[in-house]
Symmetry: C2
DNA sequence: GTCAAATTGTTTGGAACCCAAACAAAAACT
DNA sequence: AGTTTTTGTTTGGGTTCCAAACAATTTGAC
């Protein structure tokens, strides 16, 4: 019951999110944010940060690279690829973040500040 | 932020759920419950109830049938397959439901009754 | 009653996701 | 110098889902 309701709420939020950031899943946005904050980060470190397998990253990064959002550059350690956002990657990320901000506002509008705090608190009790 | 926390909570609940009901995803349990409550239900109706495409059901039902949990019988309308739980399907479902009950208790133990009501209320505000 | 239209389950092809095992290239350690 | 470890990659697998096309069957219109 609770799990079901959690899923419904998450889906509602996700749908709104998806409407805010066309063509970029939450996971992808997370990757772009991380690369933006850590320019030159290695694929393995990024996989670690995202709690995904190295092999999972390959295809994802291939796509982001094909869309011209990130760039792989061979590192001094020639086994590694350093990751950077391209100009258009930074621009798309900025646009996405603005969309996310609007999204947060729409969601926040459904709750008072006190309710929001309470909800986060209760969710924490379940997660932790 | 809120979407992220929702996802964490949902994952926590899901992990606990998975530990309760080995080898049966929440979706599968939902299907078994529905078929149990509506013996002879048609594949299309079941797909409707689960908000999935007819074509999605085929593979899922193939698996459940291969595991000997459900049975397809040609209906009077010979286009249709009526669905029934087999004996072992009913037994497995009963076992799963007991596991889920224990699961709910474990989750409930993290919250007081008042907190639980409050959480469901707040989640409703977000979903609706 | 006959013939077009709708419905049912199915197949095929595809899209996101994800992991594990194996591999070559490169680096680090001994 | 030789062994071990790390990195990115490929391959193969699994899950979950949808859309389009199809034959069999039923329904509806005339």
């Amino acid at each position: 019951m609770l799990g079901y309701r959690l899923r419904l709420a998450q889906q509602a939020v996700f749908r709104d999110f998806a409407a805010s950031v066309q063509g970029l899943s939450p996971g992808r946005v997370g990757l772009l944010i991380y690369v933006d904050a850590n320019p030159g980060v290695t694929q393995s470190r990024l996989a670690e940060a995202a709690e995904r397998d190295r092999s999972t990253m390959v295809g994802v990064l291939d796509q982001l690279e094909a869309r011209g959002l990130i760039e792989r550059r061979r590192g001094v350690d020639r086994r590694t690829n350093g990751l950077w956002l391209t100009r258009s990657g930074r621009m798309l990320l900025a646009r996405a973040l603005r969309g996310i901000a609007r999204h947060e506002q729409r969601i926040a509008a459904r709750l008072t500040a006190a309710e929001r705090r309470r909800l986060l608190d209760l969710l924490g009790k379940i997660s932790g």
